[in-house]
Each structure stands twice: as structure tokens, then as C-alpha cells.
Amino acid sequence: MAARIHRRLLLSALALASLTAPAFAFDWKAQSGQEITVMVSENPWTTGLRAHIAEFEAETGIKVTLTAFAEDLYSDRMNLAVRSTESVADAYMVQMDSALFEQWSADAVEPLSPYLADTAKTDAGYDLEDYPAGFRAGASFPVDDRAAQLYAIPISFETYILFYNKDLVAKYLDGKVPATMDDLITAAATVSAAGEGKDFGATMRGKLSAELVDTMTGIVFDAWGGDAVKLPENVWFDGDWTKPRFNDAKIAKGLSYYAGLLKAGPPSVMSYGWEDASRFFADGHAAFFVDASVFGPSFESPDSSKVAGKVGYAPLPPSAGDVGYSGHWSWGISIPKNSQKKDAAWLFLQWATGKAMTNEFGKLTGGAPRLSSWDDAGYKAALNPEYVAAVQTQMQHTRPTSVFREGWSEVVLQIVDTIQQIAGGADPQEATNALQDQLAGTFQ
């Protein structure tokens, strides 16, 4: 009897020890009592964060003020906040593209590598290698430098895929999903021609905005095919800022694909932002939608979508060969240099980008950036299996859409002008020649 009790005590003591062991290794309470402000953009990731933030507060004793904002206005405010002399926020969501690059050039963002290297500050189980090398490289500056440091951690990535409305594809195209990009453009035009002004072949973002850069670049990558592309200039330059190639035949082709989809879109597609384009698809009026994978989960929710359960997902159809290339882009999270509470902020980053939360938030964004999430049964079960298959296939053939150069978004607007011209009937080669001439003097 006594031996038994003794054994039980021993067991529970062991259990207790194993439960508390990690706490000895890493002290999550190190910054207890601090208050931090986290600045985020309204996004499915943010929805997830709101639901779990109390867990972080309980675990660390750090109080978090979340301040969220609509995406288009968020960028302006965030750019002001990180550049100002006074501290405004301690951690913030940042677009892992030229936005992060420009903040790095302005010396406004804190390098994260020193925190990651410090075992007193970073839990041993964090596993940075779990993020694809390309994602990490996209947030490391200077670009292509051995001494480069990491400035942001990805929180939600998206890749540009083909969404299709199964009912409309069955009705107008005998259920045949286009196998090549050219087929897709033809099929979209077919649907619009037969749709009697009610059903359309495609819906896309067409509004003049730098926001559509990533979708557009993804489609250009599809036309570009397998040839290598180098950062920071990306596909638009022949490996050097002095060699722009906006009128390369393959780029012209890529832009004409985008224009072809716009042409098959509803009449006011040129005023559509993502909210209009995705609503049009969710209401069941468009056969195809090429855009960010992150729209997937909202299309499957009957509250916001009339096409739930009827959406097909596919990687971008190839323009030549067997592989359809696309782009990827990601939101990241960083610490501004002007923060006074960087250690507490780092604990927040660590928690929010750890494996458990990455899986949780990923269920809402459909774009968990950790490789391990895509092997996680719980994560996969929360998403549509066709969606998971399409994104996983596409992920093997994507490139980052970023161009690391100040003022890049002005060039993007000029590319959008060119797409709008092509959609309006201009010859793709002539239109891109004009774009090339227009931009020739801009780069040194």
C-alpha cells in the first residue's frame, strides 16, 4: 500500500516536473507587467489573433493593445508610425515587399536576427528553419549579402491561383477546366459571350491601384515560365537596374493574359478593387477568378458566399509546358526601431509565429507560412481539400513578387495603365514598347 502511494507520488512529481520543465528552459514571464501596442491590418489573421490574444496575455503577463485598420489606410498609417521619432507601436504587420525594404532603407525597422540568436530571448523550440528559405530571404537585407539580417517573420502567405465556379464551368464549358492559359482566356471570353450580361467569364481587380501588383506579377510569372529570375530587380529587369525589359515578349504576353481576363469581366471591372471582384465571384456571377489564395476560406463560408461548396481550385494553368508558375507574397510581422519595449514585443512575435498559433491563424487565412502546418492534420482538416491540393502544388512553382526599390509602386501604376490599355484594345507588344520607352529614363 505504502509503496503504491509512494509510486503515485513519484509519478505525479515526474509529471509535474515534465510540465514545468520548459518554463525553466525559457521564461515566457520575463517581461511580465509590460504593456505593448500591436498595430495590425484587418485580415483573417487578425481575426484569429483577436480570438487568442488573451492566451498570450495569460502566458506572459504582458498586456496587449491591438489596433486594427483597413488595409489601404493601414499602410499609410503604419508607414508614418514606424518612421516617427516617438514610439507609436511595438510590433506591426508589414507587407514583405518593397514596403519592408523601404522601411529598412529608412532605418526604421529592428533586425530580428540578434533576438533569434539569443537563447535567453528565444525559446529553443521556435524553429526558424520551418519557414521556407525563400520567405526568409525575402525579408533579409541587404539582399544577397552574407551579413544580411532578418527583419520580419511571415505570418500569412498567399499565392495566386485559379478559382472557378463549378456550376458555371459545367453550364458553359461542359465542365472542362482550361488546361492552358490561352484556353483560360478563350474560355472566359466564351462564358461572357454566352452569359447574356448575367454570367461572366472572369472577375479581376481592375481598379488603378498598386494593390494588384502581386496578382499581376503572378500571371506574368506564368507567362515567363521556368527561366531564372533574380532579386532585387525581379522579372522586370535583365539582372540589372539599367536593363529594364518591360517590352519582353513574355512579359507582354503575361500582361495580355491579365488584360484578357479583365476583358471577359463585368463592364465595370476597371473600377473593381479586390472587395468588388471577390464579391462578384462569391455571388456566383463569374466563372473564373485569378487572385490570392487567401480568398479561399471566405468563399467556403456560407455566411459570405453563395458559391460555398461549388468552388474549384487549381494552380494557374501553364502558358507553355506542363508547369503553371505563379507568384507568392506574404504579410509579415516586425518590430519598429522606435519601440521602447522591444523585448516584450519579441515575445509577442515569437508566440504569434510559433507553430501552434501559425496553425490556428492559418485555418483562417489558408496560408500558414510554416512548412510544418501543411503536414498538420488539424490545419488541413479545417480547409477545403481541393484548396489544400491546389495551393500545395502551386507553392512548388512560385517566386516572390517583390521588387526591392524605392518608389516601385509608381511603376506598378504605370504597368496597370498598360494593362488597361491592352484590355481596351491596344496591341500588347506596342503597349509594352510604349511602357518601356516611358520608363527607360527612370532607372539608373
Binding site: 491590418s41 489596433t67 485598420f69 508610425a81 516617427s84 516617438e86 471566405s298 459570405s304
Partner: protein, 273 residues
């Protein structure tokens, strides 16, 4: 008799058409807010539906929304108080025709009103950060004087012009100071006009976007910004966003209903001199 009847018919046709055109888009937002997502954008429109109230509840309960609503109310009150406290004496002075420099000051006021937002938001942002007015309701009320003060002085001056000078003369003979004359004689007489001015000021401050975006963050966020916040990426909530828009219109609409008579009466006092 007949032409009069026809003219009346004409007037009513014009008035009712205009009223319907004005009201319809607002009704439409309200209908999106009250419909479920499936009906909201259906075409042809769904005219008969069971109203869904949850969007309103959701909009109001969304974190930060009610706070932003309160901030906006405070900005409107403080902005108006400031504009009147400073603007009424100035308007009185600028109403004195023989005052030297009067014309220059009036032009200066107009310049202040016409400054484009992007000319001053960056300098003011930098300044506010240094002096602690960034992200405060007071800071916003102060910078809004850039347009409320000129507008207030401009209108109040016109109302004061209608107050008979003999009243002021009489009071002065009885020993009243200028300060007393302003507050005891001019202000009460021009009260309806002041009310109208306050309302027009409030509308402008309530709906202002650019300056509030640059100069507030978490504590002083205004309601216009909060409405824009429903536009989350890949997750826009049309119902809640429309409901929020209606909630934001409500206080101003209530203002319009209660005050439209005063606005017209008030403005008519000072309009023609």
C-alpha cells in the same frame, strides 16, 4: 387659379423627385445592412425580406467602434466650442467696416480654409508628435480650426451685420463694455445663425477623413475611420460595414431633422446684407 395650381404641382413634382433621389441611396445602404448576405446584392433587387438586425449589433460591438463614436462627438463639441470662443469676438471686430486690415484678415481666413490637406498633414504630424498632441481629441479639434475657424468667422460676421447698430450704441451709452455687447446683445440675436453654423461645422468635422487618418492612432480614432475599418482584406463584411455607415449617419440625420428649420432661419438672418 389654374396657373397657380399648375405651379404648385410643378413645385411638388420637383421637390418630391429631389427628395426621393436624395434619400434612395441612403435607404439602399440601410437595406444592405438589414438583409442577409445572399439577398444584399441580388438583382433584380429583393424588396421584401425579413430584416436582420445582427449587423447593427455587430457593428456597434466591434472593438473600438463605440469609442470612436464618442471621440467624434467630442471632437465636434470641442471644435465648435473653440471656433466660437475664438471666432465670435473676431467676427465682431471684422464686422466693423472701418477696421484697418479687415480685408487682409478676411483673405487670410480664406487661405486657411483653402489649404489642401496634403500640404499640412505631414508638418502637423511632426509637430504633434513632439508636443504630445498626436492621437488626442484636443489635437484634432485644434487642427480642425484650419477650416472651422474661417467658416465660423465668415458666417458669424454676416449674422452680426444684421444686428441693428443702434442696439449696440444704446448699450454703450449705458456703460456696457465691448465684451458685454458681444455676448449680451449680438450673440442672443444671432443665436439661430450660430446654431446653423455649429451644425455645418459639425458635419464637416464628423466626416473628415484625411487629417484624422494622419493625426490619430488608437486613442483618438474617429468614427469615419472606424467605418473604413470594416474593409478587412479578403474578409469584407458588407452587412456590418453598411450598418456602421448607417449608425454614423444617424446622429447627423437626427441633427438635420431637429435643426433644418433653424438652419434655414439662422442662415437667412445673415445671408443678405
Amino acid at each position: 387659379m389654374k396657373p397657380k395650381f399648375l405651379s404648385h404641382l410643378g413645385r411638388y413634382t420637383v421637390a418630391i423627385t429631389a427628395a426621393v433621389v436624395s434619400f434612395f441611396p441612403i435607404l439602399w445602404i440601410a437595406m444592405i445592412a438589414l438583409k442577409d448576405r445572399a439577398d444584399a446584392f441580388a438583382m433584380p433587387p429583393v424588396w421584401l425580406f425579413t430584416p436582420v438586425w445582427e449587423h447593427f449589433e455587430k457593428a456597434w460591438m466591434t472593438s473600438g467602434f463605440s469609442g470612436a463614436f464618442l471621440n467624434s462627438v467630442m471632437v465636434c463639441v470641442m471644435g465648435n466650442v473653440l471656433a466660437f470662443a475664438i471666432g465670435i469676438p473676431a467676427a465682431y471686430m471684422l464686422n466693423q467696416r472701418r477696421m484697418p486690415g479687415r480685408k487682409a484678415i478676411l483673405v487670410w481666413l480664406l487661405i486657411s480654409y483653402m489649404l489642401p490637406e496634403f500640404l499640412f498633414v505631414i508638418p502637423v504630424y511632426v509637430l504633434y508628435q513632439q508636443i504630445g498632441l498626436y492621437d488626442t481629441v484636443i489635437g484634432l479639434a485644434v487642427i480642425y480650426q484650419i477650416f472651422t475657424l474661417p467658416f465660423t468667422i465668415w458666417l458669424v460676421r454676416a449674422f452680426f451685420a444684421d444686428v441693428p447698430a443702434s442696439l449696440a450704441e444704446a448699450a454703450r451709452l449705458e456703460g456696457a463694455t465691448t465684451w458685454q455687447i458681444i455676448w449680451k446683445i449680438y450673440v442672443p440675436i444671432a443665436a439661430p445663425g450660430l446654431a446653423a453654423t455649429a451644425i455645418l461645422n459639425a458635419i464637416k468635422m464628423w466626416n473628415e477623413l484625411t487629417i484624422a487618418l494622419a493625426l490619430t492612432f488608437n486613442n483618438a480614432q474617429t468614427v469615419t475611420l472606424a467605418v473604413a475599418g470594416f474593409r478587412g482584406y479578403a474578409s469584407i463584411d458588407w452587412g456590418a460595414m453598411s450598418a456602421a455607415s448607417i449608425i454614423v449617419i444617424l446622429p447627423m440625420a437626427l441633427f438635420a431633422i431637429l435643426a433644418q428649420r433653424h438652419i434655414v432661419q439662422g442662415l437667412s438672418l445673415g445671408s443678405v446684407k
